[in-house]
């Protein structure tokens, strides 16, 4: 209970975003998240896999359960070797977009999850890790 095998899923097409949503929905449900939190996590995963697809063409999504004292959470990692984010702080502002989107993906995902870390280097790629903790 409250544990799940880690895994990874490559992102390379728009269909993979749909599959990623399904995978994360199952993982979050298996870990014991309620419907609202599952929807939040799935939406964040959808935003971040779409970022990979739109900006880097391809990348990978990984998931695993994490522990903090008696708490359990789900950690998702989104990594790509794409163009990178020149200004992470700016990218976290609502409405900032380099593409055609609403500019809400990154700030939205940050609000939908409990923790978010972004590592990015221009020309090298981006790795975003988000965590959502099960309510105790």
């Amino acid at each position: 209970m409250n544990d799940l095998p880690p895994g990874e899923f490559p992102i390379g097409s728009e269909n993979d975003i749909v599959s990623a949503r399904r995978i994360i929905r199952n993982a979050a449900t298996a870990l014991g998240f309620g419907l609202t939190d599952v929807t939040r996590i799935v939406t964040a995963a959808s935003e971040l896999t779409r970022n990979i697809y739109v900006h880097a063409k391809s990348g990978i999504m990984r998931w695993r359960s994490v522990h903090r004292g008696s708490g359990v959470g789900l950690e998702l990692t989104f990594a790509d070797n794409g163009p990178g984010i020149p200004d992470v702080a700016k990218a976290l502002q609502v409405g900032y977009t380099t593409g055609t989107g609403l500019g809400m993906g990154l700030p939205g995902s940050k609000r939908l999850t409990d923790e978010m870390t972004i590592q990015s280097e221009v020309g090298r790629g981006t790795t975003i890790v988000v965590r959502k903790w099960l309510p105790t």
Partner: protein, 404 residues
């Protein structure tokens, strides 16, 4: 005809070289039949080895012609006489032939026939040494069968099987490998394994991984056939070793997953088609169309949905469109953007959109995402949305008994 050898009776050389000691030597040999023939081929001497191998006792055979050791077929072809003639001419004839024992059974023998000459050089007879090759032949046959067994196992393997040397060259391949690559064994063996893949570097990396870890499982590669077609394969491979434990090479089995990939692509295509089919736009009331959305909305599908919705609104002259998102599992910012764009397009036609089926979890997510839907009329259920539609149309549904 015996030839007298003159020796000094008491010297060691005389003892060792004497006919008696020579006879003792020959008599002690049991693995070879060592016999002498006269110049016409009659047996004049016989040793225990000859008795053991060919079955005749000395008494039975002395004076008999040696052609009885030949098969009937060889006698018919005149081989006994020819062998004597050749031995006399060449000096020594060695052959591997089928011979006949006393009991009529045949056996493979190594036969050496040499002429014996007198001081003038005239052939006086022949020395004949015969070795029974039955055991040797049996061992060879066993080895041959084992090799055939291995070969047929390799060839009977339905998946492409191949061995690669430490230099990365193909050492052996089976029939399935020939079929999948479109090249023959001769063409393949000795060539670079990596060159047959669309990504040689990836193939090389896998090959190095096998040496590092001892094996790989389900290593995906794409093989380029001789006709240019690309075949998707999964490799299972491991190192194999000699008796001392040294790595000789790699044995790899490939599985052609082209069909599986095609099936996956077909399923994706079908699910895409089902998604498209499942965006109907229904005319439920005079002036009201309902569009229930099910599944995920990607840009391509949204485009199709938008076109269909706009067409139906014009076609039915409907001032109200109900867009139900009950069946949409997650609304991310892109899906929201698609919905907002659809609503704007409908407005341009002079119609109004009521978004229904907004579930509590979706509502919360939209708030977290910071998406502003304040310009859109939303209701949690389709029936509540229909009520809004009637209000817009200034209509009222009245129970029958309350009618004036």
């Amino acid at each position: 005809m015996k030839r007298e050898v003159k020796t000094k009776a008491n010297s060691p050389a005389a003892v060792l070289g004497s006919q008696e000691s020579y006879r003792q030597l020959v008599d002690s040999v049991t693995d070879y039949a060592i016999i002498m023939l006269d110049q016409d081929g009659h047996v004049v001497s016989w040793n225990p080895g000859a008795e053991r191998i060919q079955g005749y006792t000395k008494r039975e055979i002395i004076g008999k012609h040696f052609e009885r050791f030949y098969t009937t077929e060889d006698v018919r072809r005149g081989l006994p006489g020819q062998d004597l003639k050749n031995a006399a001419k060449i000096g020594r004839v060695e052959s591997e032939v089928l011979r006949v024992r006393k009991d009529g059974t045949q056996f493979w023998a190594n036969v050496i026939l040499s002429p014996l000459r007198d001081q003038e050089g005239t052939v006086r007879g022949f020395a004949k040494a015969t070795r029974d090759l039955t055991e040797l032949k049996r061992a060879e046959e066993t080895a041959r069968l084992a090799s055939t067994y291995n070969r047929s196992l390799i060839d009977a393997t339905l998946d492409p099987l191949l061995t690669i040397g430490p230099d990365g060259k193909l050492m052996d391949v089976n029939g399935a490998t020939e079929a999948v690559t479109g090249r023959t064994r001769q063409e393949l063996i000795g060539t670079d394994f990596f060159d047959y893949f669309t990504e040689p570097e990836r193939a090389r990396a896998g090959y190095q991984q096998i040496f590092r870890d001892g094996s790989v499982r389900d290593y995906p590669l794409e093989l380029r056939r001789s006709d240019g077609q690309v075949v998707s394969v999964l490799f299972n491979a491991s190192v194999y070793r000699d008796e001392a434990g040294n790595v000789i090479g790699i044995v790899a089995v490939a599985r052609d997953i082209t069909e599986r990939k095609q099936a996956e692509a077909r399923i994706q295509q079908q699910s895409r088609e089902i998604m498209e089919l499942s965006t109907p736009v229904m005319h439920v009331w005079q002036g009201v169309v309902v569009a229930p959305l099910i599944g995920s909305l990607d840009s391509q599908r949204t485009q199709q949905f938008m076109e269909r919705l706009l067409d139906r609104i014009v076609e039915t002259n409907s001032p109200v469109a109900l867009m139900d998102i009950m069946g949409v599992p997650a609304v991310d910012s892109q899906t929201a953007q698609h919905l907002i764009e659809t609503v704007s397009a409908v407005r341009l036609l002079g119609a109004q959109v009521v978004m229904t089926g907004v579930r509590p979890a979706i509502a919360q997510t939209l708030v977290h995402l910071g998406i502003d839907l304040s310009g859109i009329i939303t209701r949690s259920s389709l029936s509540a949305g229909l009520q809004v539609a009637f209000d817009i149309l200034e209509m009222q549904v009245v129970p029958k008994d309350k009618r004036l």
